[in-house]
């Protein structure tokens, strides 16, 4: 990993035809349902609000199933199990301590807080214990040159304006 490189959490969102529909949008446009958000809702009730009463918890589940279709919730549960299983299969190639593997998976799936959490090289190596290699200056310059070349060609950092492209040069433009 270079100093700019980052990793991110692996908490999935599911997209099925049964996902909640976006108000005002076409029926095909649905809200992705974050697996960890569903877990977070239940954890919020149990841990933050300290709801312990069985009937109250049942009401919370009913409310959840009113917002998210039952079958989509089932997919949420399956996705969570699947991503953890896949993570374990990949991690075993570089981390052999079973306890460490479970800690990494827990962090990547839920303890990181949100899908936006950015894992730097330092945290990946020192915090998570991943087998991260830091490039020497020569290798860094090569990788950076590759990235700069791709960035220039794709125009990363500049908004893509299709309408502007089609109006400029009588609609002629080149790619690559």
């Amino acid at each position: 990993m270079t100093k700019q490189a980052t990793l991110g959490p692996i908490d999935p969102s599911i997209n099925t035809r049964l996902n909640p529909q976006i108000p005002g949008a076409s029926p095909q446009n649905t809200h992705p349902v974050s697996v960890e958000a569903v877990k977070g809702y239940i954890a919020f009730a149990k841990e933050e609000l300290a709801i312990k009463d069985d009937s109250a918890l049942a009401s919370i589940m009913v409310k959840l199933s009113e917002a998210v279709h039952l079958l989509a919730l089932g997919e949420v549960y399956r996705s969570r199990a699947q991503i953890k299983m896949l993570a374990e299969k990949f991690l075993i190639n570089q981390v052999t301590d079973p306890t460490k593997i479970q800690q990494i998976i827990a962090f990547l799936c839920s303890d990181s807080g949100s899908h936006d959490y950015t894992i730097t090289r330092r945290e990946a190596k020192n915090g998570l214990g991943l087998n991260v290699e830091k490039p020497d200056m020569d290798m860094y310059k090569i990788i950076k040159s590759i990235y700069d070349s791709i960035s220039d060609e794709l125009g990363l950092g500049m908004p893509f304006d299709l309408r502007g492209l089609s109006q400029a040069n009588s609609g002629e433009y080149s790619v690559g």
Binding site: I142, S145, I146, I150, L154, P159, L162
Partner: protein, 50 residues
């Protein structure tokens, strides 16, 4: 451009004593892309060449 990158890829492969497989997605505003569902065959073909 791609031609200049080929030399950089070769240089990096020599340093790593390994092979490179480069797959690029975009976070350019208005042109965001994700990993496509069709990548498996592309990766297999590249890996076969490697």
């Amino acid at each position: 451009m791609y031609k200049e990158r080929i030399e950089l890829y070769k240089h990096l492969e020599n340093k790593l004593k390994s092979k490179l497989l480069v797959y690029v997605t975009s976070d350019r505003q208005g042109f965001e892309t994700q990993i496509g569902g069709d990548v498996i065959d592309l990766f297999i073909n590249q890996l076969d060449k490697i």
